[in-house]
């Protein structure tokens, strides 16, 4: 499968099934498009078609390059992975990551919160006890097979509301690593309200990644992320996030400033640029996922505006990179040479099988997005997974189980999309969320364009 597009002055040809990316001149762009439509076209026919616009020698030279890429398995390749991926998904799986919802409570009242300010579908509020968390870590170790690296994200609600337990759980995890031959990669996602020097120091020692929630410009952030009183949270958290990020940057540690954009800030590129202007350099900003009835939901008619915003952001990133003050943007990060294998790319996100969400009371769900939906309650960390039928359903979820993915060039980059988004919009986990797909395709295209632009520069 071929995907061709033009962006920022580049003619880009993606040979989807091999992962090859070609930057081509205008003539080759047209020739590849013609050959993609009809592979029986001869060189002589194509020369005849274009000889009024281009010298024959140029056309034959371009065709020769196209044919050599085809021979090298870098152009006009086919999807040969289906059976291998289906077999891969059918293998016995291990649990390798937990999202530990240590707090079903929050000190902010963000308007778009999918966790309903910590109550997750109107459930009770509460904090995870050390005993439940310890059992969750034991459950993870016991179900992780030979997998060495185990990931645990402290999430919520706001996990710093249960900080004493987080500290103890990290200490417990570290205490069993050697004996169990495992390594925990702890991460935490926080709104920053309770962040202090002691917490920063601890996280710098123990957390592989820290995700700090910030929506961008003060007026944007304060509109969507107020305290329950209605007061904005921007002024309180910014100095703490700046200090924390600077420390982690100096130590070579990962962090993300992560935001959510909504219908109220369709010019979200300005919010990402605002992050960079505040001194942050590891950035992420995602579209809100909300029912169309929500006033802040992304609407189909917003999509052209949003796509333009990704272009604006990309051009600014390239400019700053060239000036030596670049920053990374999560959705534009594509590792072309060291990225994941094709199994990972096609076998889905791992929710319900390798990755599970845990409530403060130890209940297990397919991921954090399903928490609180009783239809998806899998079991608990105390008595294990009871609903193996639901796990089996998630096991069958992959790119090939979603018919829309078969004609989509982005399938090797998104792995078929989010099962929870699919469920929330279509009532089933193996469908697609169309607005999310449109934006993902644009992000992949733009990310590749940035690679092209920087490759040309070098």
């Amino acid at each position: 499968m071929i995907h061709q597009y033009q962006n920022n002055g580049f003619n880009i040809v993606l040979d989807v099934d091999s992962g090859s990316i070609h930057l081509v001149d205008g003539l080759s762009y047209q020739l590849i498009a013609d050959l993609d439509k009809d592979r029986t076209l001869s060189d002589d026919t194509l020369v005849g078609e274009y000889e009024e616009k281009y010298p024959e020698s140029e056309i034959r030279e371009s065709l020769s390059e196209i044919h050599s890429l085809e021979k090298a398995g870098q152009l006009f390749t086919e999807d040969i992975y289906k059976n291998a991926v289906i077999d891969f998904k059918a293998r016995p799986t291990v649990v390798k990551a937990l999202c530990l919802n240590v707090a079903h409570d929050c000190n902010l009242a963000c308007k778009y919160c999918f966790a309903d300010e910590g109550s997750y579908n109107g459930g009770p509020k509460g904090l995870m006890s050390y005993e439940v968390g310890k059992q969750a870590l034991d459950f993870l170790v016991a179900h992780s097979g030979h997998r060495h690296n185990l990931e645990v994200d402290f999430f919520g609600g706001e996990p710093l509301m249960d900080w004493a337990v987080v500290r103890k759980l990290v200490a417990y995890g570290r205490s069993i690593e050697k004996e169990k031959d495992k390594h925990f990669r702890f991460t935490i996602t926080t709104n920053g309200v309770l962040l202090n020097d002691e917490i920063m120091d601890f996280c710098n020692r123990e957390m592989d990644n820290v995700v700090m929630s910030l929506d961008g410009r003060k007026e944007v952030h304060d509109h969507m992320r107020p305290f329950p009183s209605g007061k904005g949270s921007y002024d309180l958290i910014i100095p703490k996030f700046q200090k924390f990020a600077a420390q982690r940057k100096a130590l070579g540690l990962q962090y993300y400033i992560r935001g959510t954009y909504t219908h109220y800030n369709l010019d979200f590129a300005q919010d990402v640029i605002h992050y960079a202007d505040l001194g942050f350099d590891q950035l992420s900003m995602e579209p809100v996922v909300a029912p169309q009835s929500a006033d802040y939901a992304i609407r189909p008619e917003d999509i052209p505006v949003l796509k333009e915003q990704y272009d604006i952001l990309a051009k600014e990133m390239i400019r700053r990179q060239k000036e030596g003050r670049g920053f990374t943007f999560f959705h534009f990060m594509i590792d072309l040479t060291g990225g994941p294998c094709v199994y990972k790319r096609l076998s889905g996100c791992g929710s319900g099988t390798e990755y599970l969400g845990v409530t403060p009371w130890g209940d297990l769900y397919p991921c954090h997005q399903f928490v609180g939906n009783q239809k998806f309650l899998l079991g608990s960390v105390f008595d294990g997974i009871r609903r193996t039928d639901i796990v089996d359903e998630f096991k069958c979820c992959n790119v090939y189980s979603r018919k829309e993915c078969s004609s989509c060039f982005a399938r090797y980059y998104c792995s078929g999309g989010c099962a929870a988004n699919s469920y929330n919009f279509h009532g089933r986990i193996d469908d697609v969320y169309e607005i999310g797909c449109e934006l993902e395709r644009k992000r992949v295209e733009t990310a590749i364009m940035i690679k092209a632009a920087l490759a040309k520069e070098n």
């Binding site: 091999s18 992962g19 090859s20 990316i21 070609h22 930057l23 081509v24 001149d25 003539l27 140029e58 030279e61 890429l69 398995g73 390749t77 992975y81 891969f88 990551a97 999202c99 999918f114 997998r147 690296n149 990931e151 990669r185 996602t189 992560r258 995602e286 809100v288 996922v289 999560f330 959705h331 990060m333 594509i334 590792d335 072309l336 040479t337 060291g338 990225g339 994941p340 294998c341 094709v342 199994y343 990972k344 790319r345 889905g348 996100c349 791992g350 990755y355 997005q369 090797y412 980059y413 998104c414 792995s415 999309g417 989010c418 988004n421 993902e440 992949v444 990310a447 690679k451 490759a455």
Partner: protein, 49 residues
């Protein structure tokens, strides 16, 4: 090549031969949490080498 510049990429066909170890990060365990992105993740095997 004069007309075509190919960016260096990991061959997906080749990755089928030795891939599938499962040591890589789960998709949402990063800065994601509401979408699904794998293209930006790093292969643990390649990271070791």
């Amino acid at each position: 090549m004069k007309h075509i510049q190919t960016l260096s990429t990991r061959s997906l066909q080749e990755s089928m031969k030795k891939g599938g170890c499962g040591e890589c990060q789960t998709s949402c365990q990063s800065a994601c949490k509401t979408s699904c992105t794998v293209g930006n993740q790093v292969c643990e095997q390649l990271k070791k080498n």
